[in-house]
Every structure is written in structure tokens, then in C-alpha cells.
Symmetry: C2
Subunit: 371 residues, 2 copies
Amino acid sequence: MKIVFKKSDLTNAVSIVMKAVPSRTTLSILECILIDAKTNEIKFSANDMELGIETKVKGEIIEKGQIAIEAKIFSNIVRNLPDNDITLTTDNNFSVTISCEKAVFTIPGRSGEDFTYLPMVEKDKSIYLSQFSLKEIIRQTIFSISTSENNKIMTGELFEVKGNSLKVVSLDGHRISIRKIELKESFNDISVIVPGKTLNEIFKILNGSNDDEVKIYFTDNHIVFEFDDTVVVSRLIEGEYFKISQMLSSDYVTKLTLNKKEFFDSISRATLLERDSDIKPIIMTIEDGNLQLQINTEMGSMDDNMFITKEGKDLMIGFNPKFLIDALKVIDDEEITIYLLNSKAPCFIKNDDESYIYLVLPVNFNVVSRN
Amino acid sequence: MKIVFKKSDLTNAVSIVMKAVPSRTTLSILECILIDAKTNEIKFSANDMELGIETKVKGEIIEKGQIAIEAKIFSNIVRNLPDNDITLTTDNNFSVTISCEKAVFTIPGRSGEDFTYLPMVEKDKSIYLSQFSLKEIIRQTIFSISTSENNKIMTGELFEVKGNSLKVVSLDGHRISIRKIELKESFNDISVIVPGKTLNEIFKILNGSNDDEVKIYFTDNHIVFEFDDTVVVSRLIEGEYFKISQMLSSDYVTKLTLNKKEFFDSISRATLLERDSDIKPIIMTIEDGNLQLQINTEMGSMDDNMFITKEGKDLMIGFNPKFLIDALKVIDDEEITIYLLNSKAPCFIKNDDESYIYLVLPVNFNVVSRN
């Protein structure tokens, strides 16, 4: 095989498929990317058996062939070559020569035959949306998946299509994040659980443009994302997602509207007194026109106050500050509204059309002295 | 004690004295900074017994006093407060209240009496130079001190003043770095060994301006740096520095002149094939008009060539690529000259007036096949 690439095309393609190369594996072939130029097209792919990525690369095929190359060293070398044409040559012993100007690297490759191709999936059900929308909806929900493998379903996100609406949900037992967007047309109903890892990697590859689209195909076991010159295939998580509708009551007793940045800054400051090993709650005392924020830890205490607009009853309620911070980070509104029922019931941060709902469970606290 | 600071003055002062707060210590008072406002001046200080820093801070003293505060939490809090006036108040129980706008933090402090003051040193011998010059000369030599405590002297740098010249030397057994600068006037002879840690911290605090000066005082046991509103006192390393003059022969058999960036880039690329656990040499084959650079490791091989101007004999010599890279990084010249004697003798990278000399010992290598 012999191919000539422009450096930028090569580095771009390698960085895309690298997202499906596991950092640790016992199967060394999974650490490789496959370069396939058996036909008139050049395709790079990587596959960790859960997630597979394939991307088309521009280049001049001088001699057809294919090779598997250890991804990390190949990526390091191409990124550090001069900004010029890069020639990739392989011989019968799967030795790979990478040359650029006067520099010549030789590294061992492996037969492409050892490589597991991406699964072929039937493309029946599909939707499309802009890269921007997909990237945003991932960012706005991914933080509240569970990182523990104890409950596999919590490590993924629900993607639910109904008519022209896409709803994405994540939850970890302490909080729920829900985002809804309108699609450009109506599609068949879909409800699947997509692994969080897949979404994290997709997020990194998407260019995020409003003008470029992503086509998403769904099958019983797989989800396929097609965008730019890239195809990402991922297994779905099996099982049924949690029934969240019954947790989403619209009753409330206290409603407050406040400046998001001020609220966020105050809670962030409170966390300076937290130790990871022993998270103390931030205690909110809600009164007409004023929200008092208090925290009391081994390291010290904080007391802060901010202006709010309140309807309904006064209330005192405690939260894990991290959970509030995570939600506030991904809300773009300057003013937010929070709905509360009592000190034992979850709070809802949501907007009027419910295009976002962030539910956070409160925590118990000991009433601190309020001098 | 009660003092009102501007946020920027407070954060700046804390970040300066923090440099003398050890990250790990069994003596908890060393983790504190002392805020001293017993007189009409406000001084912050920290002291890890080797290195002490004191800086004057602007602020309005409403009530005189002093307090020791745990540095890390104090720094975190003040950096995250709103950009406004910050009031620091202490009570008789050494409790510290930090308030800004509506936010009030309360953290425990300690009696200033527990704090070890900076040593008073006799200021007799001294030199002065610009902050820029001191910062540069540290950067250009500090990388070749030894990090191992086996030989204490190697963990410091020689500061030698003769007439109007300051020479700074560091060495670690594999290489020597020497920088010389001209001072604005002549001073008494001085020869001391300054701890590398002190220089690393000084480097971070210096503003690096050409217009601001640093005054350096020397005693038998201490070095004192005075600049801006800050005083840094450090112990010196006891003992006699290595006699390096006998290692600095001006004989050479091969002399080459080459483009620094091209040389640096090629060696950097070669290191992509290195594993930390098993550093292989980069082999330089020096011929008329051409320098060949080769490396051969378990991960693969590289072969590169670049144009050089050569005088004298052809030569083949191997180096630890890291040592060449470290020296090349801090040389600003576009073209550099390298002097060599044979494959067992050190190479010298130096300029004509010897304001810099970088000596690197070669390493043995097995001749690789050169197809």
C-alpha cells in the first residue's frame, strides 16, 4: 500500500477515529486504527466493540492495500511531522514507513485481516438534526448520568422521539436532567438508551455547526450517527428506561425567580469550604425578596444573601451544591425559575415551555444557628 | 484586627507569599500565612524554614493586629469573592471573618505568635539587576539541576559574581549549563549555591520587567531578593561547588553550524519513539553539509537529514535526546554552533562570547544499519 496525504487531512482523520480506541485493553488489535485503501476510497476506522468510528479521508492512492497501525504512536508521529505531504508505505511484513520531507519513520503495523469491522446495521428508522443541536443537547444532559456500572441503564441517556420532538433524559438517582428540542419534521416513535461514553465521544467529534446535519439511525441494538465524512456506530444499552413521568409533578408551594449568575457564583464559593470526602449541604432559606445561602463545614462557614422574587410559602431546604452547580452551568437563561414543594421534595429548575427541566433531590441538614 | 483590602491587592499578595507555603508538611503552622498589621503597615508572610517570603500589601487598617490563616483555603476564598472591597476581621478566638458584598465567610485562624518570622539577615554584600535578567538567567539554567537529593549541591545553582559579571551554573552529572550576564557596575566577588527550589519560586513571582530591579543580598548562610514590595529570604546550600573550569576545554575537532529550529524539531520528533523506561540515544552522523539523525527503539525507527555547515572531521556521536532538547529550548539564537572532539567527549553548544555554554555528555550506542 502507498498513499500520499495532506498533513491536515491525516491528522484530522486520525483524531476522529482515535475516539473509539480504548485507552486500556487486553486485545492489542483494538489499540490499532485500520487504514483501508483496498478500493478507490481511503477509510480509517477504529472499534472498541461497543463503539466503532469510520471516516473517509482524502489522499492519493498510489498502491491499494490495507494495514492496521497502533493508534497512539501513529497519531503522535503524524501530528509532529512538518506541515507538508505525508507518504504512507507498507511492505509485505506489515512494516509501515511514514515519510515527510527528509524525515522517515518506520514502525511495525499489523495485518488488516485481524481487525474487526464495524457492524453492518439496517438503516430503517432515522431522524436528522443540526450538529449544533445534538452537541448542545448532549452537553446539557450528560453530566447527570451515573458513572457507576452498578446500574447499567443509568450510565446511558434516554433518546425519545415522538412526532417532531426529541427528548433526552439522564438521571443518576439524585437528579434528573431533561432537554427537549423540536425537530424539523415528524418521525416515527423511537425510545432507546444510548451509552454515555458514546455520547461523550460524539460530542468531541461533532463540529457543532448549525448548518451541518447529523443523521441518526436506530435499530434494536445499535445507533448510527452519520455526519461530515464520518460514521459512528454504537451498541445501545438493553432494557427499559425509568418511568420518569410520575416523578415530574407540576405542583409547587414556593416559586422563586432569580439571577442565575449570582446564584451560581454564590454556590460555587460555598463549595470552597467542601472536602470531597464529606460533602455538606448548602442551606437555602427562602423568604420574600431574599434568598439566604449558608454552608457550614469543618473548614469554616459561609453566609450569603441575594435578591429573589418569590411566590408562595417561605421555605428552608438543603442541597448538595455540586448538583445545583452542574445544572446551572448548562442553563443559558439569565433568569431562572425554581419550583419547590417542601424540604423533602425535589426542586425543579425549568422554563415555561419545559424545553429544560432539572430535578434535584434535597438533602437532610441540621438547622444551623442563624445569628 | 480589621482591615479592608481591594480584591486585586489581596489576591496578588496571597499568591506571592503562597510560594513559600509547603504543599506537604507535618508542622501545620507552616501551612499558614501570617497577616501582620500591628503597625501602620500590612505585611503578609510565609515561611517553610528554607524559604521565606514577605510582601507589603495596600489596605485600610481599621483595627491593628495579626493573625495566621491557613493559606490554601484563604487563597481559594479571596480569589472567588466578587471584585470589590474585602474586609478581614478577627476576634479574640482567632476566628477570621472575610466579607465582601453580601457574602460572609468565617474560618478558623491561629495566633500569629505561633508563626516563625523570617530570619533577619545582615545586608552587606549585594548586587542588583533587572527582573527580566534574573528571570531569564534562571529559566536558561534551572532545567539542569539535579532533582535527586543524593548530592545536595547539584540541587542548587552556582551564583558567581566577579567584577561586573554574574555567572550562573547548574549541572546534574550528565550536562552543565552556564549563563553569564554583564551587570551595570562592578561588585565584590561572590560565590554561593542557591537552592533550585528558591529559584523556581522566585521565577514565578518576578514580574519580568526590564525596568524593575531586583536587589540581591548575600550573607554566609542566606540570600535575600528584594523587588517590588516583596522580600524573599532563602538559606544557601553549604559546601563548595564543582570545579567546572577544567571540564571546559576549548579544543575541538568538529564544528557545526545549523538552524536551531530544524534541529530541535527533528530531535523532538525522534523522542516520539522513546519510552520513559528505556531511553535510546539519538545518533548524529556528521558529514560535510549534512547531519543525519537516527533513532531506533522498540517502537520503531526514525531517519532524518538536515543541512549543516561543518568544519573539521566527520563524526558519529549519540546523545540522550532530552538533554539536547532542554538546552535548545532556552537558546534564542536562530543559528547555533556545536563543538565536538570525539564520540566519547562532551559536545559544547555555545556562542562566540560564551554568554551561554551548554555541555552535554554523549552516550554509547550500537551502530545501527544504515541502508
